[in-house]
Symmetry: C2
Subunit: 106 residues, 2 copies
DNA sequence: CTTCTTGCTACATAATACGTAGCGATTGCC
DNA sequence: GGCAATCGCTACGTATTATGTAGCAAGAAG
């Protein structure tokens, strides 16, 4: 039987990866098939190539992305996270509504 | 009918918030009830108080957290994200298994 | 009064991201 | 062959952000 701190270690590691700038965005932009380095960069608002390459290296290292002859694409493992990402997208719409209801500009 | 770029704007904003260091961790640590500033700091591996306060300000500003006399706690809106967070936790366990299967130390 | 603990700030240092330029390696195309 | 265009990616100087330690002002307890 695992202790609480032990059973929560992988999620900490996940938060550490997802909590880096551009990581969620990169994953999101690859949801509809592979993109080349330059395509991906264009989708990500012309992110600096230095950082993009650092993130791609990290995501390959952590088995979340792989590079094929068609470009970068999510691994089978990461694709299982798809529903979670779409749940985030749906929630974010409610969030945006709440914020405008409180007088913030989204 | 909204265009694709429009309908994906809130999720971009969400990624921008969640993609900041410590944000996911802070949200996670508050999942079981409110914590005071110093408690939260202790849970978050003694994060620097400067950054913690910046993040708390951001999360209050974006209606994700609120501070009560018992400490900081998620808003009703953020609590709806709970299942998503637990889905992330569950997925991260599979992720960890895959990584050890490939010879990485988790 | 003194002594705690609290939320939080100041400030100097370290780490990280940015943006522009451009290199070396392909890929057509003539 | 040669030439131009495009590719993934790196170099490097600047700007932004995080870290860590110290400690302040305010409130509670005695």
């Amino acid at each position: 039987m695992a202790k609480l701190t032990e059973s929560s270690r992988p999620v900490m590691a996940l938060f550490e990866v997802l909590g880096q700038k551009w990581v969620l965005r990169i994953i999101w932009e690859l949801r509809n098939g592979p993109l080349t380095f330059r395509e991906l960069r264009a989708q990500c608002d012309e992110i600096s190539p230095t950082v993009l390459n650092q993130r791609l290296a990290l995501l390959k290292e952590t088995l979340l992305l792989e590079s094929t002859d068609e470009g970068y694409k999510p691994t089978a493992l990461l694709e299982e996270l798809g529903p979670v990402l779409y749940a985030l997208r749906d929630w974010s719409n409610m969030w945006a509504e709440t914020r405008v209801a409180h007088g913030h500009d989204v």
